[in-house]
Symmetry: C2
């Protein structure tokens, strides 16, 4: 197989495009796709300070690598989830990546800052482990970016991630989530802008990029992910893709072109400050603070306040609210 651009020996074949590239051309094409995503969706301005959420996996490190190579102001954010060896190794890998490049890595430890880790949250909370992990990431990424004065949070979601999420949202026709599945979520009401510059690139391509760039990354999946529904949607998409290459990109790009404009996000209730943490929410307390209180067995407000008790009843079991009534308020 020969490189489509320079006719040198190819090192990677991309079936959905029926094409192949040598190392040099692939790295350039990969970066061009990221630049194209950034430009098309006006993801970052030339003076923007970017905070890249880095897990230690191939996608987020490949993203950080490209953003730095483009000369953008991109710091990394590592969130320690407390998932044993997996988290330790992820932290080492991201710290080494930053040190090699003289880049800044911001580290937040969930347990040290918020009092719980993800394995505990999965056991004690009412949400699944993956759900509480996702909620925590969204909260901490936004909080760290807002507090650090960053203009935009960039995540390493690739085409496979986006196609699987879209499949899940579409199988449920969750029209509100579908409407919001854009590669860019603009800043609004105390929420920092979020962007996904890798959404044009498949998992295979991000893995190849990381490998060819010699990036040391954590290859293992999170050990808590087993049975995750997102994985099932990926498997279903992969089964179809294997027999009809191009289905995944057709699905996601066709959505962006033709379908996303048909879906309208639900009107949000008025945005107010969470009475516990002060960040944006639509209720009295934000979802993260409610989940955290449940996990820690704490209460968010004096039990005398009947309105609060009723509002919390959906999220926190009454027994938890009242058992700790004598304890210290958060």
């Amino acid at each position: 197989m020969r490189c489509r651009r320079c006719r040198d020996e190819a090192v990677i074949e991309i079936r959905r495009n029926n094409t192949a590239y040598c190392k040099g051309c692939f790295l350039e094409v990969f970066r061009n796709q990221v630049v194209r995503a950034i430009d098309t969706w006006e993801m970052v301005g030339p003076r923007d300070r970017i905070l890249v959420a880095v897990s230690g996996g191939k996608d987020s490190l490949a993203l950080w690598d490209v953003l730095l190579a483009q000369g953008l102001q991109a710091d990394g954010l590592y969130l320690g989830l407390g998932i044993g060896d997996y988290s330790d190794r992820s932290h080492q890998v991201t710290a080494a990546f930053a040190a090699e490049r003289g880049a800044t890595l911001v580290t937040v430890d969930l347990a040290a800052t918020y009092g719980f880790d993800i394995p505990t949250a999965g056991r004690k909370g009412s949400r699944s482990t993956c759900a509480v992990c996702g909620l925590s990431k969204r909260y901490v990424f936004n909080a760290a970016a807002a507090d650090g004065g960053y203009d935009v949070v960039a995540t390493g979601h690739n085409l496979d991630d986006e196609a699987a999420t879209l499949l899940g949202n579409t199988l449920r026709w969750n029209t509100d989530y579908i409407a919001r599945q854009s590669p860019v979520l603009p800043a609004a009401d105390g929420m920092v802008k979020k962007v996904k510059p890798l959404h044009r690139l498949s998992e295979l391509e991000t893995a190849a990029y990381a490998f060819l760039r010699g990036i040391d990354y954590v290859v293992e999946e999170c050990p808590l992910v087993e049975g995750n529904t997102q994985l099932r949607y990926k498997e279903a998409m992969n089964a179809i893709e294997a027999r009809s290459p191009g289905t995944k990109s057709q699905f996601f790009f066709g959505f962006l072109d033709r379908a996303m404009p048909l879906f309208t996000p639900e009107d949000r209730a008025e945005i107010v400050a969470c009475q516990a943490c002060g960040r944006s929410t639509t209720g009295m307390f934000c979802a993260f603070c409610r989940a955290r209180a449940q996990i820690l067995g704490e209460r968010l407000a004096p039990p005398e306040d009947r309105q609060v008790r009723e509002e919390l009843a959906d999220e926190v079991l009454p027994v938890e609210l009242f058992e700790h009534a004598g304890g210290p308020a958060t």
Copy 2:
């Protein structure tokens, strides 16, 4: 396992509803679902003459059985596709079904009436075998119903069929097809009304109904169906359904409830009479007549007519048009 309704021993378990039924209750529940579909979507009026497209498979015979049991005026239509033993057996089975019930079976033989069978069409035409078969069925069902004075054509499409078709249309975001994926297509411009009264029932349920009613049906798949994309979508849906029972019905009913109204069918060009067969079309000749001419190596109009030549150029290879220029016009 006990029947959910009468507590007798159950003979069928329906996982997506987490329920089970004895024979008598299942047959009643099945028929109720068909009646509910007919009522909700105003599929047939009490005096309507229905033409049921029967292939000899479980779905269409189960449908015909239920419609007759409801006392509706339902004749069968068997279209002979000329697929060897498979078609012969299908014809025998539908004829025997009709004879047992004293019902009327209308038979159309594709080769005798239109000059080609499906295996020939698959070899000679530019469409895939399944595509030309689908086109032929739609054309003949409509023509037979219109000529026979029927008010509505009913087909045996079940929930699995509809979910797989919706998945295929959604993976391509074919917004026009998505907009038209209703259980009812109203009569319009010479097109007879089309209804799918089994869309609430899964393939497992139609098979169980046919089995429990002692209906002799053709179990084998069409021998030409291998590699059909619809089958891949069914496999993908089944893989997800196996781990998340209810996904299929959630997907299709969620679509009907919340998403179908968001999609608008494209405006059709003006409907005119096909210059070959006289039936409704938007061009000079309808898709069926163009496909047929291509398969038979015939031409649809004198080659002197430049406008026609240009219009046909997309569908019929010029060589075919001109090679037969001296032959008889269709």
